[in-house]
Subunit: 149 residues, 3 copies
């Protein structure tokens, strides 16, 4: 039936985060209606501009997040990457809510989302390095560490 | 030769839609030349702003579309997902054409593209749920339904 | 441990380019601080607007680049696609540096990045065509060409 399936947990987190992106786009649409701002205009009251920029920032970071999530999940550990991915989504939720309220309110969520991205980046680097050592030097570091315990 | 190949139809639709994105970027460039708007400016006559916003909106939705396409295609049915993906591309084409003409002209294409995304989302949800039931509860719902006929 | 791993070289190039995207986002943040532009504002001195537009343009092309990279690498040749991917990243680097200096400075890097994208597109088209011929007509063109030498 279905094509050879990709890892389920990474797919679930990607799917949920795509829904979240859709939700943010909807929020911008609602804010357009509320403040009576017809496209193609993207300027207006500060409240609308905050909603718009909050969504734009999420859009900018989304492909980056997906790449880090799949790298960490494919080369290091799927479960761990999926959990950090959910944390990222929650941080983005806090960011968006905060930004809608005030420009300063965006900061806690933004820094948390950067922290989650940073964790995924570290795991991705570790996973890729390990896989490269294994492939080119036949040396599986993670396996060796596991054998110590 | 090539690395272990991903599902062909999903790859073809992704590839074509990426070409479409490139085409939209080119349209913005042409509109810049026509209206003599040098970067980094993004403001100008309403006609240019409509072209620019049309492309921006396509950019915003593109990663979301790819995630929904691949989830639906990998976990539910590749052929069906590819066909809906082509419908999405056509809806975006109508959207872009319409938006270039007038701000109101964007609506039919936009709503159609949302409908296509919604279909992919439903298929994706069904596919992921089925796969999760299968993996964690050893219960393949789609297979059971197929056996009824 | 890790889920069934995707092709290593494509993953490495994707990962590095995602880090590059993160770097550009950071540059915008720095430019905001330097010119004292608080979000959600995106207008300001020409220098800030150039940095901002440079990053925005990279964001717009990023998903497109990833799709072309993976199509070329999965269906044609992973090593070749990875090398062109690195060229694209370098071209984007030149683009960003040049754009920060002046609006005209963006052009050399921009045209180079388009050339790299175009190469990936050609490879992707060749790879997909070959795979489609193989799958539907049982005719492996690339294999036949290889046998000639």
């Amino acid at each position: 039936m279905a094509a050879n399936s990709p890892p389920l947990l990474l797919a679930v987190v990607s799917f949920l985060s795509a829904c979240q992106q859709g939700y943010y786009a909807k929020m911008v649409g609602r804010s357009r209606i509320k403040h009576n701002i017809t496209p193609p205009a993207v300027n207006g009251p500060a409240e609308f501009e905050r909603v718009f920029r909050a969504q734009q920032n999420c859009v900018e970071f989304y492909p980056l997040f997906l790449v880090f999530l799949w790298t960490a999940g494919s080369f290091f550990n799927q479960e761990l990457a999926a959990i950090i991915g959910l944390c990222y989504m929650y941080a983005r939720h806090v960011y968006f809510r905060g930004y809608v309220d005030s420009a300063k309110g965006r900061l806690p969520g933004f820094y948390s989302s950067l922290a989650a991205l940073f964790c995924l980046m570290i795991l991705g680097t570790a996973g890729i390095t390990n896989r490269a050592l294994d492939e080119y030097l036949d040396f599986d570091l993670l396996e060796k560490i596991r054998q110590l315990f």
